[in-house]
């Protein structure tokens, strides 16, 4: 909050300017993320606040002999609280405090590790004699927590954190090469980030102009142009009622239009019309699944290549319909899949495990944290191929990568309030 000691300023994001990097946070390097299927932790440095609080405590009670007790009233894990306690004792010693037993101490310090909506709040109550305690405190912003990943199942899903920011992310796409690049699509535009000296540097933002208000539950997709080098890689961005095409790495042109969105990948491609004022696809397909060019309105789709009998490859498509059912199209029939308690978001994954192709699906519930699980469809009943993978928030988008080897998943982390982009992949075997 702005304080009287400094002019209070807030300016919303100006699309004509480079975004300040501090408002966004990358979680792990994209290229590292691709190579290492493990989540990165992002711990918090406690030394600064500990030093600050130690200084305030010593300013109150001088360098007398003290006893110190630390209690954790926050969401911090016990290990973190212990680390903070050790750090605080070290800093108190650095500031000249001496530690003694309760009988010999001239003062006692009760430190409480607390928190409020925005910050950690560390409070020290300094008691000397029978006087009322002096209270000093420090506060600093809370960091995100680290998710725990399950393991040990026949086919294991992995998630790698790619990017996070306060604004809703619609899609991200990687541009391999040197230097590596990443595109982030949100409601205001596309920002390219370039990996330089191990840090992502924001390039010129490319704003998206639109004449109509965006619908709620906004959706959007980035599609990279094929066969171009990373240096001049171009892309298309699809949003409700708006189509954008990058004409060069530094420019993008947008216009109102109902271009069909590509909803598959390089191996199983399909286009579908999106309803401009809503959050779903209308059900009109192009060129269609075989002879089938319409399905009921749907939220998401997954195309799976089948090779049965061997040598006879064809694609079947699953559609998570708005009315809650799951439709399986094979080019001639539209079957309703039974016993699938799936949510609205599905995407195809070419893992090479099992039949080679799986559907990643959220579940059908109303929990704060979504879980994603891999399934195959040998018939009309899905068979689970992996344990559910806790995403750590509510999924807002799932898009198959063009290669099919990964699924970009966007989720809203209710703990941090941020949107996070994840890459989901799978490894075979237990």
């Amino acid at each position: 909050m702005p304080k009287a000691t400094q002019p209070a300023v807030y300016n919303s994001r100006n699309l004509g300017m480079v975004m300040p990097f501090s408002s966004r946070r990358f979680r792990s390097l994209w290229m590292i993320a691709i190579l290492l299927p493990a989540a990165f932790s992002f711990g918090q440095n406690w030394s600064g606040p500990a030093e600050q609080l130690a200084g305030k405590i010593v300013a109150v009670m001088g360098t007398q002999a003290i006893t110190v007790e630390v209690s954790n009233r926050s969401s911090l894990a016990a290990a973190s609280a212990d680390e903070i306690r050790r750090g605080l004792l070290t800093q108190l010693a650095v500031h000249g405090a001496r530690f003694a037993s309760a009988q010999q101490a001239a003062a006692s310090v009760q430190v409480s590790l607390s928190e409020n909506l925005q910050s950690y709040v560390w409070v020290a109550e300094v008691r000397q004699g029978t006087n009322a305690p002096a209270v000093v405190m420090v506060s600093f912003p809370r960091a995100a927590s680290v998710a725990v990943e399950p393991a040990g199942f026949a086919m294991v899903l992995h998630k790698v954190e790619l990017w996070s920011q306060p604004e809703r992310i619609l899609d991200v796409a990687a541009l391999e090469g040197s230097p590596a690049k990443m595109l982030v699509l949100d409601a205001s535009g596309v920002i390219a980030y370039r990996l330089q000296d191990g840090r992502w540097q924001a390039e010129q933002p490319l704003p998206i102009a639109h004449s109509r208000p965006w619908p709620r539950d906004l959706r959007g997709r980035l599609v990279l142009a094929k066969d171009l080098s990373a240096k001049d890689r171009r892309f298309d961005a699809y949003l409700p009622g708006v189509f954008c095409r990058s004409t060069s790495p530094e420019a993008m042109t947008c216009y109102d239009g109902d271009q069909a969105w590509p909803i598959g990948n390089d191996l199983a491609g399909l286009n579908a019309s999106f309803t401009a004022s809503r959050n779903y696809f209308s059900g009109v397909l192009s060129p269609g699944v075989g002879k089938q060019t319409t399905v009921p309105p749907f939220y998401s789709a997954a195309g799976l290549l089948r090779d049965q009998p061997p040598g006879d490859k064809y694609a079947v498509w699953l559609f998570a319909a708005v009315e809650g059912q799951l439709h399986l199209l094979n080019g001639s029939t539209d079957q309703v899949v039974t016993d699938a308690a799936w949510g609205s978001d599905i995407a195809a994954l070419h893992s090479g495990c099992g039949s080679g192709w799986q559907v990643l699906a959220t579940g059908a519930g109303d929990a704060a944290n979504d879980a994603v699980r891999a399934f195959e469809l040998p018939g009309r009943t899905p068979v689970a191929m992996s344990a559910p993978l806790d995403i750590g928030g509510r999924v807002t988008a799932m898009w198959a990568e063009s290669s099919g080897a990964g699924v970009v998943t966007i989720m809203h982390n209710s703990r941090t309030g941020e949107y996070e982009a994840l890459r989901l992949t799978a490894t075979c075997g237990r």
Partner: protein, 466 residues
């Protein structure tokens, strides 16, 4: 070995089955039916005679936009204003107004209209349109003006054809003051059309009437008294409780009784202050919360709850009857105090009765009355904002306390201001209550913020599956 592995797999499957829940994307359409106790006769958000409850604030936000909104952490975010900046000193502020926003009559929201609306809401500020925005000159440095402007009372309103309209996500379709409000979603709302087509609100319904309508399928969401939430949940209704967001406590009249205040004790405490201290020590807040409230709140020792400040635990809440009796014993003669409460509030009645009993155990005489001029009043005040400074300022005003001053950086400045109010011994905090609602299963993505305001723009209705 293989059997063992299968058992482990089965156990792990059960474990992960717990987290194997996820969401369905929001559906458009449907009508959300609410029943509430509030019975406003006006929809004007700056009307000082209207209630400032979370319910009313939630309803105002459906019709009127504010320049600023607070996010879930209480941080200001752009609303009708896309940016803002303060001159040095934080007394003069400039706000740039969002383009492409219209009132419900289709007329664009102009800086002139915004300035006019805010002038009516706060005549103490000098407000005028300037280019693409407005300028606000406050009567004093106001570092947290953006958070203040996020209060619904600063919703941008316009009168046209005798009707009050706003630029919010819903338009008023029918308004029967104090009885019923019908709202229709605006297709052209700048932040996106709401998911539901319409919202219908039945007003002036008691808790009993509301739960009856809920059980009969006539309402989708109804309010639930904090002390009833646990029982109704146990009976299988979908109950949602927000954070402890309503302060309940005792407030002493400002004017000390002359015959008591003259008698100063050696320790500096007047007899009145000793008696107030004895009363504060006598109150068994844990019992009030666990027994009377059935866990529908939290014991309070401060004005603001710990989730908002991070330091409320510094103010003790535990009863100390021995100390209460000792302190009471230092005053030879204690007068009988009258204690007033809202007689229409059953919860206030039982809490007031318990305060009287606790006081009696300490040797104090309190008599519960319905008079408005009692020595002590039992009050309930909802927290007005997620911004701690705004919430404390509003709470102090509602309790008749001096306006807090914030000198320095939070949270130390906030603590100093709140501690000063508590040290005045004008108040004895009792409880923080948790507002609760019963929500039907077909109402999805129901959310309320920490101070109990509902986000009705993101709610959607699940239709029956074929």
């Amino acid at each position: 070995m293989k059997r063992c592995a299968l058992l482990l797999l089965a156990a792990a499957s059960c474990l992960y089955g717990v987290v194997a829940l996820a969401s369905t994307r929001p559906h458009y359409g449907g009508t959300l039916r609410l029943a509430v106790r509030e019975a406003p006769i006006s929809l004007y958000p700056a009307d000082p005679s209207q209630s400032d409850s979370p319910v009313m604030r939630s309803l105002y936000r459906l019709i009127f936009d504010t320049l600023v909104i607070l996010d879930a952490r209480g941080l200001p975010q752009p609303g009708l204003a896309v940016s803002w900046q303060a001159d040095p000193g934080n007394q003069r502020w400039q706000f740039a107004i969002r383009h492409g926003v219209s009132f419900q009559d289709g007329i664009a929201v102009s800086p002139d209209a915004v300035a006019g609306s805010l002038r009516a809401a706060n005549p103490n500020w000098k407000i005028f349109a300037a280019g693409e925005g407005i300028v606000i000159e406050c009567d004093a440095p106001t570092a947290n003006l953006p958070a203040i402007l996020a209060l619904p009372r600063y919703g941008i309103a316009k009168r046209t054809g005798g009707k009050l309209i706003g630029s919010g996500p819903f338009a008023v379709k029918q308004w029967d003051p104090g009885k019923k409000l019908s709202l229709a979603a605006r297709e052209d709302y700048w932040a996106g059309r709401a998911f539901v087509d319409a919202i219908e609100i039945e007003m002036g319904k008691t808790f009993r009437d509301q739960i009856l309508e809920f059980d009969l399928g006539k309402a989708d969401v109804v309010e639930v008294a904090p002390d009833q939430a646990r029982r109704l949940a146990a009976e299988g209704r979908g109950i949602r409780s927000s954070a402890a967001a309503e302060w309940m406590g005792l407030v002493f009249r400002d004017d000390l009784r002359p015959d008591l205040s003259r008698d100063e004790a050696p320790d500096g405490q007047s007899t009145v202050e000793k008696l107030r201290t004895a009363l504060a020590f006598s109150i068994d807040r844990d019992s009030m919360n666990n027994v009377l409230l059935q866990g529908g709140g939290e014991p309070a020792g401060a004005l603001l709850p710990n989730w908002m400040t991070g330091y409320a635990f510094l103010f003790p809440t535990a009863a100390d009857m021995q100390r209460a009796q000792l302190t009471r014993g230092e005053v030879p003669q204690a007068p009988a105090w009258s204690l007033s409460y809202d007689v229409s509030d059953p919860l206030a009645r039982v809490i007031a009765e318990r305060v009287v009993l606790n006081a009696r155990d300490a040797g104090l005489r309190l008599q519960a009355v319905s008079s408005a001029t009692a020595d002590v009043s039992l009050l309930r005040v909802p927290l007005a904002s997620l911004d701690a400074e705004v919430a404390l300022t509003n709470l102090a005003a509602k309790l008749g306390l001096p306006q807090p001053k914030f000198d320095g950086d939070p949270p130390a400045a906030l603590y100093a201001a709140e501690n000063a109010l508590l040290q005045s011994q004008r108040i004895i905090p009792l409880l923080y209550l948790r507002p609760a609602v019963a929500v039907r299963a077909n109402v999805r993505d129901w959310t309320e913020d920490q101070v109990g305001e509902w986000d009705l723009q993101t709610v959607w209705m699940e239709t029956e599956k074929p």
